[in-house]
Amino acid sequence: MSILVDDDTRVVVQGITGGEGKFHTGQMEAYGTNVVAGAVPGKGGQEVDGIPVYDTVDEAVREEDADASVIFVPPAFAADAIFEALDTDLDLAVAITEGIPTQDMAKVNKRLSEVDTRLLGPNCPGIITPGEAKLGILPGNIFADGNVGLVSRSGTLTYQVVDNLTARGIGQTTAIGIGGDPIIGTDFVDALSLFEEDDETEAVVMCGEIGGEDEEEAAAFIDEHMDTPVAGFIAGRTAPPGKRMGHAGAIVSGSGTGTAESKIDALNDVGVPVGDTPEEVADNIESFL
């Protein structure tokens, strides 16, 4: 079992003719993902490695019955591409693009409240259900099918923790990168609630980082609504206040909110063990299974 994507998911790639779009479409197909169409304005009628390209997402959905989109569109046009995805009947849109202006994402966020399509990202590595489908740029070979869910704000940290799990034979139901930007579509609470409802997911890893208060909100949600055990990891314990550490969201304000300490405390207070190292996270997950 899985959440959000499986081998029935029919994917349209927005930006399929660009370098990244083309390369990762190949990678997704090689993993077994059912990529049914591309959408690029002005490129309708072309093919990319045998996949038909349409001018609009709407056309791709009508002609190929796509139900999910992956967006590899440059930042200047990415918000528009997300709006286009949200304007169809897609179940899921995954925005990989990094560097979308925050005010654009505030407008997208407003639109999200009016539609049924779920957005993942932006600035995220995507989502994978091992052995079935991956939408995004995650390296498929490190994942294994199993019963642990994973949700993370950081791509490479996702890979690291998955590696620690897979190395000791613990597979995953689905792994979700929600992205490191200040305004994102699906957040920790959304992902955790989906894992809670999934019968196959027996434990969940949640990887957070400094900045914002999403982890604190997730802790409150875990306390009130979750029976599935959660193990946590928080990156940025050593980050100095006021410095931006790569991710737009990964900045600690001087006033004590958004620090690793406040996030770890919030999680510990609701019974979520937070590992000091990724290996400890795997230990904690193992103790739940």
Binding site: P75, A76, E98, G99, I100, P101, T102, Q103, D104, M105, A106, K107, N109, K110, R111, P125, I137, L138, P139, I142, S152, R153, S154, G155, T156, L157, T158, Y159, Q160, D163, G180, P182, I183, C207, E209, I210, G212, E213, F233, A235, G236, R237, T238, A239, P240, K243, R244, M245, G246, H247, A248, G249, A250, G254, S255, A260, D276, T277, P278, E279
Partner: protein, 381 residues
């Protein structure tokens, strides 16, 4: 990016927000003649990208030419929190009865912009927000519609601004939001808005920060960007295009992806070492970028040992290995020990290429960090 006060004020003035008469000066004589022209008293204000200028001695009020000369001389060239003052704004002193705060920023929790008004202006607004949050009236803004005039009025009334100036203040707030949106600001603030003894409202300060990700559509503002690095290493990182933060320790850290690099820092600390820097080479790095990263970290004289931690997704292990080899082969003697941990996409190909005469290799993140910490401890003894 941050704009200087005088740059933000130019933008505010063009949009119709009242500001005091002012001139920019880069030396003492210019400052004095500006002061003479404007008329005393004048405020002499350091133009540097740091907060809390007043407290740090970067803003002084001069009541005659002698004071203007003395203060301009004090402030020009002074070091303010690591930045040298190279220009001052000489500004007409405002005879005020009251100070307000107005601002617009992004509330990331709500995913919406928020407009704020407070009658506790002229002080550190972050302290007010923490100690007395009710003293700041807030209105969240639907970005599809912008700030409705009624919302601006509501914020002003909720904050308890005097009726006599409510119209002027809400007009400033409306204009601020328009600028926030048009110019892709991340924050825009006036602290304080001064209420003069004549009942006028004047923007006595101006803060405007622009979303770096939106500079592509703000070419005029992008031109104002100044490189304000704290040291030569940060300047170099800027030129190479790295996300880099210099820290106080002696273990140099290079990795890919913000979350993984932060985790590597945390593990260095966990195993008893001290991180010297945060350096993210980003996604999909080619060999040259890797070479530049090693050059950066070797240039830091505090660094005693280096850990190179790559988990490839979009980044390819063979490219990374090539870059490491190229960088290290250029030395007759490698200046600091380098531990490499390579996993993910094309890691096996990378391991075959990697010249293990030049680096130590560890299989796991934990082992690599521990080894680097040991190397640093040995080297510093």
């Amino acid at each position: 990016m941050k704009l200087h006060e005088y740059q933000a004020k130019d933008i505010f003035a063009d949009a119709g927000i009242p500001i005091p008469e002012s001139q920019l000066a880069t030396n003492v004589d210019e400052a004095v003649s500006a002061a003479e022209e404007i008329g005393y008293p004048v405020a002499i204000k350091a133009q540097v990208h740091v907060g809390g200028r007043g407290k740090a001695g970067g803003i002084k009020l001069a009541s005659d030419a002698e004071e203007a000369r003395e203060y301009a001389d004090d402030i020009l060239g002074m070091d303010l929190k690591g930045y040298t003052v190279e220009q001052v704004l000489v500004e007409a002193g405002v005879d005020f009865t009251n100070e307000l705060y107005v601002g617009v920023t992004m509330d990331r929790g709500e995913g919406k912009p928020v407009a704020m008004v407070s009658t506790e202006g002229g002080v550190n607004i972050e302290e007010v927000a923490e100690e007395n949050p009710d003293a700041i009236a807030r209105e969240h803004i639907d970005p599809a519609f912008g700030l409705h005039p009624y919302q601006a009025r509501k914020a002003v009334y909720d904050a308890g601004v005097d009726q006599s100036v409510a119209r002027g203040v809400s007009s400033i707030l409306t204009t601020l939001y328009d600028l926030y949106e048009e110019r892709d600001a991340s924050d825009i603030e006036i602290n304080p808005v001064m209420i003069t003894s004549d009942g006028d409202v004047v923007a006595a300060d101006a803060v405007m920060n622009i979303d770096d990700d939106a500079l592509f559509r703000q070419p005029e503002l992008a031109e104002m960007e100044e490189e304000t690095y704290e040291d030569d290493l940060e300047r170099k990182a800027g030129e190479y295009g790295f996300d880099y933060v210099r820290l106080d320790g002696n273990v140099g850290i290079i990795g890919n992806g913000a979350g993984l690099v932060m985790t590597t820092l945390d593990l260095v600390d966990y195993y008893g070492g001290e991180p010297a820097n945060f350096l993210d080479i980003g996604g999909g790095a080619k060999a040259e970028r890797v070479t530049n990263a090693l050059d950066m970290v070797f240039s830091d004289e505090n660094v005693d040992a280096v850990v190179f931690n790559i988990f490839g997704g979009i980044t390819r292990g063979d490219e990374v290995a090539k870059g490491i080899n190229e960088a290290l082969e250029s030395f007759d003697e490698i200046p600091k020990k380098v531990v490499v941990r390579l996993a993910g996409t094309n890691a096996e190909e990378g391991m075959e290429i990697l010249n293990t005469d030049l680096v130590e290799v560890e299989e796991t993140l934990e082992e690599a960090v521990q080894r680097a910490v040991e190397n640093a401890q040995e080297a510093s003894q």
